[in-house]
Symmetry: C2
Subunit: 209 residues, 2 copies
Amino acid sequence: MGEDENVRQGSNVAEQAPLNRERIVEAALALLDETGLDGLSTRRLAADLGIKSASLYWHFSNKDELLDAMCSALFDECLDIIDTGRQNFNWRKWLAGGTRGIRRTALSRRDGARVMARVRPVGEASARRIEANTAFLQSIGLTYEESTYALLALRRYAVGSALQEQVYAAVGQAATQDESEASFEYGLSLILDGLASRFSPLEFTPPEK
Amino acid sequence: MGEDENVRQGSNVAEQAPLNRERIVEAALALLDETGLDGLSTRRLAADLGIKSASLYWHFSNKDELLDAMCSALFDECLDIIDTGRQNFNWRKWLAGGTRGIRRTALSRRDGARVMARVRPVGEASARRIEANTAFLQSIGLTYEESTYALLALRRYAVGSALQEQVYAAVGQAATQDESEASFEYGLSLILDGLASRFSPLEFTPPEK
DNA sequence: ACCTGAACACCGTTCAAGT
DNA sequence: ACCTGAACACCGTTCAAGT
């Protein structure tokens, strides 16, 4: 069975397939954990991929575009499609979970928050998610604008929190784990309380469709 | 009257005094508006100051320290010492004003939010301000932790908002001015409403001291 | 005390050329 | 279609040396 098929392969089987954006982003995120954002260079990334740095420019038109793709990948990790079918759906828990997810994803890798801070609407997936989420908030009594703004506020708060937590961590002044969690949760509950005061039902049973 | 005193001066009178950190930070902030954070190089900054870039390292041990000083300078711009003497002091307006100040300062210069995102407790001035502010919140009924966390949440929200607004602006996808303001104000009011629900008096008259 | 000259070890990016 | 070689125009930082 064709041993010669393997002759051209490098030692690592995964390396044989031609490079694509996805694999580059993956390697870049791995490198990020090692070097931090300031140490993440295209030359080092290329070396990790067994390639010359000029080659990266066939896949991405510049480093910024690569960083945007990394940002998108991180947001995809905490993509949270709404499960509208459940009974006794609790909007508060749902929003809290989504917001925690953004923060946790950011904190899960070195300088993750700085990468996620580049957030911009790339990709259809995130556009669809945002649309579905605002539609849901409207269905429980918020206006279109309120829905948009509420989701925006939660995302801004999550990214802002992770960002500052990582700054303090980088400088060796990290608060205790408990304190970080507590301060984040406090602010989150403030926002959700404010939201709760704008319409009545804390528990919501969706209409059967 | 000593024309010869002027002989050694450059064309710009302000240039004669020896450089100090303050003047360097000032020049750096001016340069930031021209070049953005990514274009802000120590070499270019030195050139603007009429100096060689190596000289900067006598005043700052590295670029990060300079950026921290720039961040502190921006926070000093929106330093808001509490006026505890006024009658009918409205805590809501006071907190809203402080939060808006952080955002406005960040938005007032190119990449201002990215600089302010490095926030860390340098300087006694900001430490005193935070202490005074938490003390005040305690005096109107919050616990020490609630006070700290509430101020932290507002700052995180303000920086997070400005950061994302400037990202969108940089990419030419700026929302209308009205929309930016409206979305920021909406999230701010959510937080303040949540805070209001935690203790009763919306208006507060401080005790005479 | 404050600044320079000169160097070190890097960057991101381009582009003709290879396969 | 995908990658390389080689170059361009930069970086931040160090350090002996100047005044």
